[in-house]
Each structure stands twice: as C-alpha cells, then as structure tokens.
C-alpha cells in the first residue's frame, strides 16, 4: 500500500478529532449498551491511529502494537463487557449526577483547559503530531469527568477504560510510538484491572442488589 506521505498527518488529525468526538459521545450517552459500542469504536480508532503512525515512521513493532490494540481494546474488552452486562442483567438508563447538557458544558471547559495546558508542550513534539497531545489530554480529562459524574459501576469502568485509551493515544500519536514492552505491560494491567472489577461487580450486586454505587455511601446496620 502506498499512500502519499503528506496526507497521512491529515488523516491522523481526523482520527484525533474523531477520538475527541467519541469521548464527548461517551459523556453524553445514556444507555449502557451504546456506551460499550462507543468504547469499542474508540479502541478501533486507537488501533487505526497506531497503524497510521506505523506507516508514518516505518516502525515494525508498531504494527504489532496496532493489531494488539485492535484485538484487545476493539474486540476483547467490549465483548467481555457486553457479556458481563448480559450476565448481570443490567437494564435501563445510566444514572448521572448532572444532566447531559450541563455535563457536556463542563466537558467543553475541560477541553479548553487541556488545550491550554498542552499548548506550551506542542512545540517540542514532531511537526506531524503537533496538536495531538492536547486532544489526548482532553480525552483523558473527559473520561475522568465521566467516571466522576456517573453512578453505576459499569459506566465508571467504561470511563476507566476510556482513560486508558486516551493515555495510549497520547503515547502513540503524540510521541510517535512507545516501546512495545511498556505497552504490553499497560495493556495487561488494564485487562487484569478490568477482570478484577468484573468480579467486584458481582460482589457489589450481591450485597446491595444494585450496581448503583450511590448505595455504597450509606452504612447498613443489618448485615
């Protein structure tokens, strides 16, 4: 495959913008099932951008990393989450502490903050990926805000995984690749964290008959 090299950064910028949009969509989404699909889309975007960086730099190891990302973040984790959702038999809307419009307005403020924070650093980065760090930081903060503003345990885990995605995006796009061993370590950490949280889900529900973490704030005397 031979693409003109000058169009690659433009496509990478598109993917970055798409990543930001997906982060906002995660923030605005009410339904748990759509949340998981959006997370899968974010994983696929991540894999695509890693593949693009591999094409841009010619680094062989980045291809491995891209396919790993696709398998793990685009397919495996969403499938597992989906199965978990079915086994837990969770239904209905996501509980939010703030309404959607308000949450998104705070999201905009976070993005501006992230961009302002990343602006001085942008000069030190390769020219092709100039603004990418700001977007990755913004996606990170948005995922963080999502974890804060949600009540159900599953949507908080989705926020955690989205945070992980944003970190990966920062590492691959902003710095044009990172060592595979670091990436493998982080990916496995995320997967193990996810599995442990999956076990926690069952415990939480067994004890509280709900996945709403709101109940964890109250003391229960009768147990």
């Amino acid at each position: 495959m031979h693409l003109p090299t000058e169009s690659l950064p433009a496509i990478l910028k598109f993917l970055a913008a798409w990543m930001l949009l997906l982060s906002f969509a995660l923030l605005a989404q009410r339904r748990l099932l759509s949340l998981i699909y959006l997370l899968a889309w974010q994983g696929v975007t991540l894999a695509l951008s890693t593949a693009l960086v591999a094409l841009l730099t010619g680094d062989r190891l980045l291809w491995v990393s891209a396919s790993l990302t696709l398998l793990l973040k685009g397919l495996l984790i969403p499938t597992l989450l989906h199965r978990l959702l079915r086994r837990l038999n969770v239904r209905g809307d996501v509980e939010m502490t703030l309404n959607v419009a308000g949450g998104q307005l705070i999201g905009i403020v976070l993005v501006i903050f992230a961009f302002a924070l990343a602006a001085p650093l942008a000069g030190a980065l390769p020219a092709a990926t100039h603004g990418m760090l700001g977007i990755a930081l913004a996606a990170f903060l948005l995922a963080f805000w999502m974890m804060i503003s949600r009540r159900k345990a599953i949507s908080e885990v989705v926020g955690f995984l989205a945070m992980d995605n944003a970190l990966f995006f920062a590492a691959t796009s902003a710095t044009l690749g990172m060592p595979l061993i670091v990436e493998l370590g982080i990916a496995l950490d995320a997967l193990i964290g996810f599995v442990i949280l999956g076990v926690f889900f069952f415990h939480i529900r067994e004890n509280f008959e709900s996945l709403d973490l709101h109940w964890l704030e109250h003391l229960r005397e009768d147990r």
Partner: protein, 315 residues
C-alpha cells in the same frame, strides 16, 4: 457593478422563491414514499399556496398591528437573507452588503417577529409555541454561529461569498474542523426548520408542536406568506449548507456557460439533499421536548469542538 451581475442577483432570488415550494413538495413526496404512503405530487406546494392566497385573511379580535405586520417582515427578511447566500454565483453585488453574522441576525429578526406575533394573539397555544421556540433557538443560534466561525477562520473572511471562493480553491485539503462544522450545521438545519427529531409541523398535537403552534391564528394570505417563508427558509438553509461544505460548481464569474453549470449543479445537489433529509426524518423518532435542548446543545458542542480542533490542530 455591471448589469449582468445585478441580473444574476435577481435571478438567484427569483429562482429561490420559485423553487422553494417545489423543493418542499419533493421532500414531502420522498417522505411519503419512504413511509409507504401515496405522495401528493410535486405541484402540491404551489396548489396549497394558491388556495391560501385566494382565501380571506381573518384576524383575531384583540390582535394589534404586529399580527398583520409580522408575515411581511418574516417573508421580507428571508428574501433578504436569500440575496446574501451565493446560490448560483459568488461576488454578486449584494454579497458584500452583509456577512454571515448579519445573516444570522436577519434570521433572528424573523424569529423575534414570529414570536412577538404569536404572543400578540393572546391564545395560550401560541404563547406555548413562542416559549418553546425561544427555548430551542437560544441554543441553536450559537451553534449556527460557531459553524460559520469555523468556515470564516479557515477562509480568513466572514463574507459567505469569500468563504465559498476560498473553499473552491482549497479542494484538496482535509479539514477536521469543517467536518464538525458540517455536523453542527446539519443539526441546526433540523432544529431551525422544524424537522422531525425536534418538531413535526404536520401534526397539531399540543404536546409536540413548536413552530405550528405559533401559526395557529393565521389564515389566508398571511398564512400563505408564512408557509412560503418557511419553505424558503428550508431552501435557504440547504443552500447555505451547499455553499459552505459543497461549493463546487458555483460560478465564479457571470457567464452563460458558468451559470448554466452552476444551475445544473445546484439542482443536482438539491435533488440529492432531499433524500438525506427524508431518510433522517423517517428513521428518527420525534424527541420529547425536554430532550430537544440536549439535541441543540450537542449541535453547539459540535461547533465548539470544531473551533477547538481548528485552534489545536490548525486545520
């Protein structure tokens, strides 16, 4: 400015006025076909207007001059807005009269008069419609402005004509911010023209109506003007979308060949735009009124993300 340019300018406005009912009827026809209903035909828009113009215009008892005055203001501002949008050619004489901000302002004047006239009748339904209209448009208008701002920032000018001329030259480059602007603009188009996820002018259901509630007291030629104005507004928005995001084919000078090509391109784009709108309206369900501000907020969000990506990524 030459006579040819002025002739072109008036031709453009007359064309928009003439085909607005046709476009609305074409959209209606596609919707009917998609919903397995038998369409009324392409002439329905004209038949409706002729019928309404022939009828007597009744006025509510306690209404003031505002009620009679508003249909003309609404129609006039929309015709004025049509002169500012490069439908067939750029650099027409009136193009430099006002920029995109003034264009949004003109549409806002129309909205304010519509709302005032609705409240003038004193009926609760019209009041309710006016309130809902302001609720929704308060968020839709900044979204429209941000979409325009992105295009102006890229072109370095806030004149729609200059933006079109600039985009035609820069066909090769991809702009992520323009994609967001297009998304924001499309949502605003749905909101402002009372299309289905936000409003459904085809029903008279008190729970859902926004636009229609404000027109309930109108009849005869006033109603005809309002309906024609609404059709013109839809065409105007589609033309603005074409000018901003798909400007290829718009003539850069007034010549016979270039204008004929522009005409063909415009009709082709309208022909293609209607199925997209009809499909969206058929596939989406009408939102509850409380969800509509969220919808408008997401349009604004697209606009702001577009602006931010423009500043961050420089594209």
């Amino acid at each position: 400015m030459s006579w040819a340019a002025w002739g072109m300018q008036s031709l453009q406005v007359l064309l928009a006025l003439a085909i607005a009912p046709l476009f609305a009827a074409w959209l209606q026809m596609l919707r009917a076909l998609l919903q397995n209903r038998r369409p009324a035909g392409l002439g329905q828009g004209y038949r409706d207007l002729r019928r309404l113009f022939a009828k007597e215009s009744l006025l509510p008892e306690d209404s003031s001059w505002l009620f009679r005055f508003s249909p003309y203001v609404l129609f006039g501002t929309k015709v004025m807005a049509t002169t500012l949008v490069p439908i067939l050619a750029v650099n027409l004489p009136l193009a430099r009269a006002a920029d995109v901000i003034a264009l949004v302002g003109l549409l806002a004047v129309a909205r304010i008069f519509q709302v005032l006239a609705a409240m003038d009748t004193g009926t609760p339904f019209a009041d309710l419609g006016a309130h809902r209209e302001m609720l929704v448009s308060a968020l839709a208008e900044p979204a429209l402005l941000t979409a325009f701002f992105i295009a102006s920032l890229l072109a370095g000018s806030s004149s729609l004509s200059t933006i079109v001329a600039h985009t035609q030259v820069e066909i090769t480059s991809l702009h992520p911010s323009m994609v967001f602007a297009a998304a924001a603009f499309f949502l605003v188009l749905l909101i402002e023209n009372a299309r289905i996820p936000v409003d459904n002018p085809a029903t008279h259901l008190e729970l859902t109506m926004i636009h229609e509630a404000m027109l309930l007291e109108y009849s005869g030629r006033h109603l005809a003007l309002l309906e024609w104005g609404a059709q013109l507004k839809l065409l105007l928005y589609v033309a603005m979308g074409i000018a901003l995001f798909f400007p290829w084919g718009i003539a850069d000078h007034v010549g016979l060949v270039a204008v004929m090509l522009a005409l063909a391109a415009f009709f082709g784009k309208l022909f293609l735009a209607a199925p997209i709108l009809a499909l969206v309206e058929t596939l989406l369900a009408k939102k509850r009124l409380f969800r509509v501000p969220e919808f408008a907020a997401s349009a604004f969000l697209f606009g702001v993300i577009g602006l931010l990506t423009h500043f961050m990524l420089g594209a």
